[in-house]
Structure formats: C-alpha cells, structure tokens
C-alpha cells in the first residue's frame, strides 16, 4: 500500500515540481529560495498524501506553496528588498529579456500578500475563487488585494518602461 502511494506521489511530483518551483520563483524572485519553498511544500504534501483527494491535490499544493512563501516573509527571512522604483540593471543577472527583468523587479516591489494574489491570479492563471481558496480568504479580499497590487505594480512598471 505504501509502495502504491509512493508511486502515485512520484507521478504527481514529476508532473508538477517544475511548475511550482517557477511559481515560487515568481513569488520570491530567487531560484534557490524557490527550490527550497517547492521542496518543503512537496514534503508536506507527501506527509498528508493518504488524506488528500487527488482532485484537490493541486489546490492543496498551491495553498502550501503560497503559505510557505508568506511564512518566510513574516519571519523576516526575506532575501529580497522592496524597490521604490524600477532598477536600471537586471535582477540577479538572470537571462530574462530586459522587459521581463523590469517587470520582475516591479513585481518584487509589491507587498508580499498582494504579490501572492497577483502571481496566483495572473502568473498561475487561477480564478478569483481558486486564489481565495489557496489564501484562505474571501473572493472580495482577493479582488481588493488584486486592485491594490496592480496599482503598486503599475507604479513600479510604467508603460514607458515596457518597450524593449
């Protein structure tokens, strides 16, 4: 029975780990931290695998990843710093195209809670209800956080900065 469970989890892991690592990266902006958040989240999912229904496993994993990210910020373990304006150079020297570098830096300037909403809504492409479920809040809260997050994002990512 344990072997069957591991096999099932292995399939789940293989199909999703990279996606959630990328979502975590969108949240924190650091590949090492993203790897850590994703790994810790999958460990937690494995520990409760026997109690998770397969059709809700993704929703549960989204919740765990998001909370793991927010927990690191609450503990003051932030490896990031908010930026008041768009930096002139690329963040971490990544290989994004320049416009993506600017957008990523702008996103990292959005407060963590609002950033989580933006990432789940527009990067992970979830519905308002799914985001509310992942964050454990109401759809109304998701909408208001989305609006505030977009204002903050647009302030740091003006239209003039979007041209390559």
């Amino acid at each position: 029975m344990a072997r069957a469970r591991d096999t099932e989890f292995a399939e789940f892991f293989s199909a999703r780990f990279d996606t959630y690592r990328r979502i975590a990266h969108a949240l924190c902006g650091d590949w090492a931290e993203a790897e850590e958040i994703a790994q810790e989240s999958f460990v937690k999912v494995y520990a409760r695998w026997s109690k998770i229904r397969r059709e809700t496993a993704d929703a549960y994993l989204r919740t765990v990843v998001t909370r793991a990210f927010l927990d690191t910020r609450r503990r003051g373990r932030a490896r990031e710093h908010s930026v008041p304006e768009v930096p002139d150079t690329a963040v971490d020297g990544e290989s994004d195209v320049p416009e993506q570098q600017v957008l990523r830096a702008a996103l990292l300037g959005v407060p963590p809670g609002q950033r989580a909403v933006l990432v789940l809504r527009f990067v992970a492409d979830l519905s308002v209800d799914d985001v509310a479920s992942a964050l454990g809040c109401s759809p109304g809260t998701v909408k208001s956080q989305t609006a505030r997050g977009l204002v903050a994002l647009r302030a740091a990512y003006p239209a003039s900065a979007r041209s390559v």
């Binding site: 996606t19 979502i23 460990v43 416009e99 957008l103 990432v119 527009f122």
Partner: protein
C-alpha cells in the same frame, strides 16, 4: 488589467530556469521522516493524556487509609471495638478546618441511605438522667450542663460540657426502625461521610452499638457520632460536638469534649438503662 499586462506576467513563469536540485528521493526521504515525527507526536500525546487520566482517577480513588493529611487523635482515646465487616468506601477527599484549630479529615461523599428510621421518639427522662450521671462521673475537670430539648419537633436533647478547652456539647435523640439491629446498622454504616466502616459491638441482648469516625460538623466544627440499635426497634443517636449545643453565637473549641472511648461507654450505658 490589459491583455498585454497579463501576457507579460504569464511569461514570467516561462523564463529559462536552472536545473532543479530536488529529486523525488529527497522529497520521499524527508516526507517519511515527517510522517514518523508526526506519528510519534500523536503517540506521545495519547500517552500523556492517558497518563493524566490515570493519575486523576488514582487521585480520586485513593483509599482513605492512604491519605496522609488526616489529623491524628481528634477522637481522643479510642475504643477497642472492631470495625464492622463492610468494605471501605473509595473516593476519599481531604476536608480542612482553618482558623485557630486547623485540622484535616479524610471524608467520602455521603452514601445514599434508605429510610431506615420509621418514626421519631422521645427519650425517657430516666435515660437522660442516667447518661448525665455517667458523664458527671467519668468526664473529669469539666462542668456538665443539663439536658435541653433544642428541637421539640424531633426531641433533640443537648447538654453542654465545659472544660479547659471551652464549651462542647452532646446531643441525644431517639427514633425507630423496622428491621433487625444488624441490618439497620449496616444500612446506616456510612452516614457520617466516613470511608472506613464504623467500630461496632454486638451486645448480649442483640443490640448493636457502632461508633463512627470523626466527621465534619458544618464548615468549621467536628463531631463524633454513635448509634445504638435496640432489639425493640428503637435507635438512639449520640453526637459529640466541638461547639456548644446552640450553634448560633457559639465558638468552635477545636477539640471534642468526649473521647471515642467515652462515647462508646455512653452508648453502652444507654443499652443498660433500656
């Protein structure tokens, strides 16, 4: 939000990424360790809860003879009668008297008692006089008062005994029962919040006399009770109190004016005078 903005954000997830360092084996190993820790925590919690419950039950059911806090010698010189052959009660708890005469007793919840007394009787004048004579003769260095019927509805006679410790009292009442002396004595064996059975003597005329352990008498006083079950269906009750017979305005003296031995003698005198 514009479609361009959405597209730009969506593209963030598709950027080139370094190769992941996390493998399935790492996740499985850490996940299994996490499961083991959680299971150990659950087992520990169950053990702790069961242990606490066990300790609570043991504390509630500790036998009276194991309670260490009972103040010794409250009954004075003890009578040598054996205890009635009845099982001791469990569930003893400490009762404490504070103030100038601190004392601790082991008490049990009051037992459910059937309606053994079937009537209220008056105590014969000769009986009252005989008991007083006995007290005058046997209680030294004390002033023995006179019987007063403090509650005419039930004929509760009381006299005060005054000695160096202060004023105490003795009550005497008579009632009736319909069974035999042994059965009635068994039925009324645990009426004084006592965990241990009373000390008992079966007399030659088949009367049964029993003396109970010292018991609380209200919030701050103590009492010592004896019952005499006569074969003719009369039950005489003698209560020695650590305060005067009239409860209002009287101070608890801390000690009983009669010892257990003297109370037992009083019961025997009652049996002798009929």
């Amino acid at each position: 939000m514009s479609a361009d903005e959405q597209q730009a954000l969506r593209a963030l997830i598709e950027v080139p990424a370094p190769a992941p360092t996390t493998t399935l084996e790492v996740v499985l190993r850490r996940g299994r360790a996490r499961v083991r820790v959680r299971q150990a925590g659950s087992v520990l919690a169950v053990v702790v809860v069961v242990g606490l419950l066990g300790a609570l039950v043991a504390w509630i059911q500790v036998p009276a003879h194991r309670l260490p806090a009972a103040t010794p010698h409250l009954a004075g010189e003890e009578v040598g009668w054996p205890r009635a052959a009845l099982p001791a009660k469990t569930g003893a708890t400490p009762w404490q008297r504070v103030g100038p005469h601190p004392a601790t007793l082991s008490v049990c919840p009051s037992s459910q008692v059937g309606a053994v007394p079937t009537g209220i009787g008056d105590t014969a004048e000769a009986t009252l006089q005989s008991v007083r004579d006995l007290l005058v003769a046997t209680v030294r260095d004390a002033r023995i008062g006179y019987w007063t019927d403090l509650d005419p509805a039930v004929h509760r006679y009381s006299l005060d005994i005054t000695d160096a410790d202060g004023v105490g009292s003795v009550d005497l009442m008579t009632s009736a029962y319909s069974t035999d002396p042994g059965t009635a004595a068994d039925t009324l064996a645990f009426t004084e919040r006592n965990c241990l059975p009373p000390k008992r003597a079966v007399l030659t005329d088949s009367s049964v006399a029993q003396v109970y352990p010292v018991a609380p008498d209200g919030d701050q006083s103590i009492r010592l009770t004896a019952r005499l079950f006569r074969p003719d269906g009369r039950m005489l009750v003698v209560v020695v109190r650590s305060r005067a017979g009239v409860p209002f305005g009287s101070w608890d003296r801390g000690t009983l004016p009669l010892s257990e031995q003297q109370l037992a003698q009083t019961a025997l005198r009652l049996a002798a005078v009929g």
